[in-house]
Amino acid sequence: MVIDLDKCVGCQACVVACKEENNVPHGSPEEQRSRREIFWHKMIAVTRGKYPHFRIELLPMPCMQCDHPPCVTVCPAKATFRREDGIIMQSYRRCIGCKYCMVACPYGARSFNYKAQEGKPYHHQDEPPDRKSWEPWPFPTRTQGVVEKCTFCFHRIDQGLREGKKIGLEVVPACVEACPSQARTFGDLDDPQSPINKLLASRASFRLREELSTHPKVIYLSR
């Protein structure tokens, strides 16, 4: 995924879209104060300088889906693993809730379920009631006591692949779809001909905390 910070307007539609798509619960004010709200996709604001000569960077931060993920190394139960296509997944059935991955994640991408969340599909009245049609994502159940994180909307990708659609053009994660300024591009980094690689070749880009050599697959184009 490539995020063009020049185009990003900081509307946080991606944050909301992610919450809606994956039924990530909105934390109560108390939970927000105690830092227990679940975020799969967060937005941070970084300032430099003093008013009037200063600059704000707004950085949308999904899970970076690192190529060398520290969370996978430290997980004792194989609950978080790297899929063949590079997406780092979290299996709630295997997760024992030791929270080691949250300590080891350099990007704060992981959240813990501190309570049993309401499972009602409140944002999906338009979905058909048959849950089988939402495969393989067991939407919208959540498990108390496990760690969860962004999945790059793997359910969309898998369904798109099954239907033979083009990933990155016809099928994109919810945050990419929701972006009003089309700052986000999704595609196959392995394919040198893909639009995402052409875009990367055309602009100066950076990744977060590159000094840790985690090789994030979320790449930012600088302003």
Binding site: I44, V46, I56, V74, K78, C95, C98
Partner: protein, 394 residues
């Protein structure tokens, strides 16, 4: 000369009151565990920023105490120092109980404790590159070794006890260094990340273990009207002084490494931020400075009362050392992007001390004490009669 050991009678009034209190704490343990299990960990102080709280602090603390106790027991059973014989069995027994306590702490801290068996499915369902999985080998082996060790001591098979004891001491060192590696290998947390962390853990384990043995030996011998040989306490105190010095050097080197180069924000936060008191007052003051002073000053180092105060200070101070690692280590925000991060993502998190978490920790400590008292009642742990007589008989 053989030393005779005996059980305690358990007929006194104080014993019964203690048992009733500890029994009630078992009920508290079950209740507080079920509350956290059914309502979720929202009743604790942990958050997405500080995922490890009181229970993990207690867990590494107890493992340290256990490893320290076993290493001290080796003075009696491996190195055959006769001075330490009255506390030999006590030390091994404490090692087992503290390890069991540590295991209860870490199991209870899991979000889904019923799935903990996955940790033991080596190479099949678990990930052997994780230090938790590696440590689970260490921990199970450690408990088994300690049980064999204690059994051999009870049976009086001293030759074999030397062999098993030697393996057990080496294993205890591995156990505790492995626990230190859980933190020391995490490269994205500046306060954790340090190659010297396992050694620091080992030294902290030795100081706290020795001090706890001094305390427990004095308290149990006093309460069961046994006389403890003062030379035993003083020689442990001399040992303690040396280990505290080594600990001081390790802590100094660790902090110096983190402070010397400009990427020192997290360490500065530890030293001057919200949790400065945990570091300076507990870890440095009570864990190192104050006891080191008491054990070096000519007047205080010869007084049994001051040595006990020094031991108590170390036991509390090393707990502070664990807390100063676990909580500020994750509380400081990670630098996702250069510049000043605004809003909650850029602010250090605060770890609230909550009722259910504290009561759960205290009840697990009480559970360990209960097992300890029951052990004294039914196993021959303490030396018979007056310890001084026993020593003179040799």
């Amino acid at each position: 000369m053989e030393m005779n050991y005996s059980t305690i009678n358990g007929t006194s009034r104080g014993y019964k009151i203690l048992m009733v209190f500890l029994g009630a704490m078992v009920g508290v343990f079950i209740t507080s565990f079920l509350v956290a299990y059914l309502k979720g960990q929202q009743v604790w102080g942990v958050s997405n920023i500080i995922p490890w709280g009181q229970l993990i602090t207690f867990y590494i603390y107890f493992i340290g105490l256990s490893a320290g106790a076993i290493i001290i027991s080796s003075l009696s059973y491996v190195f055959r120092k006769e001075t330490y014989e009255p506390i030999g069995r006590l030390a091994v027994f404490m090692g087992i109980l503290l390890m069991i306590g540590a295991m209860i702490f870490v199991m209870v801290d899991l979000g889904r404790p019923e799935k903990a068996w996955r940790l033991f499915m080596y190479f099949y369902l678990n990930n052997m590159s994780s230090l938790f999985a590696i440590n689970s080998i260490f921990y199970t082996g450690y408990i088994t070794l300690m049980l064999i060790y204690l059994w051999l001591i009870f049976e009086g098979r001293k030759r074999l006890a030397v062999v098993v004891g030697t393996i057990d001491v080496l294993w205890a060192i591995a156990v505790h260094m492995g626990t230190g590696a859980i933190f020391g290998l995490i490269g994205n947390r500046e306060i954790f990340f340090s190659p010297i962390k396992p050694f620091e853990f080992l030294m902290a384990a030795l100081t706290s273990g020795t001090s706890l043995i001094i305390l427990i030996a004095v308290v149990t011998f006093k309460l069961t009207r046994r006389v403890i040989h003062e030379e035993l306490i003083f020689s442990l105190a001399r040992l303690l002084r040396i280990i505290i010095l080594i600990l001081l050097v390790t802590v100094f080197v660790d902090k110096l490494t983190h402070l010397y180069f400009p990427n020192r924000e997290a360490t500065l936060y530890l030293l001057t931020g919200d949790y400065w008191w945990v570091f300076w007052i507990f870890q440095i003051g009570m864990g190192i400075g104050f006891p080191l002073f008491l054990l070096t000053w000519p007047k205080t180092k010869k007084s049994i009362g001051w040595v006990i105060i020094a031991a108590l200070s170390v036991v509390l101070g090393v707990f502070g050392e664990r807390a100063a690692l676990v909580i500020p280590g994750t509380a400081h925000p990670q630098p996702f992007f250069p510049g000043k991060m605004e809003g909650p993502w850029g602010e250090p998190a605060i770890f609230p001390i909550t009722f259910w978490e504290s009561i759960l920790s205290l009840s697990i400590v009480s559970l360990v004490v209960l097992l300890f008292v029951l052990g004294l009642r039914y196993l021959e742990i303490l030396p018979e009669g007056r310890a001084e007589e026993n020593l003179e008989m040799k």
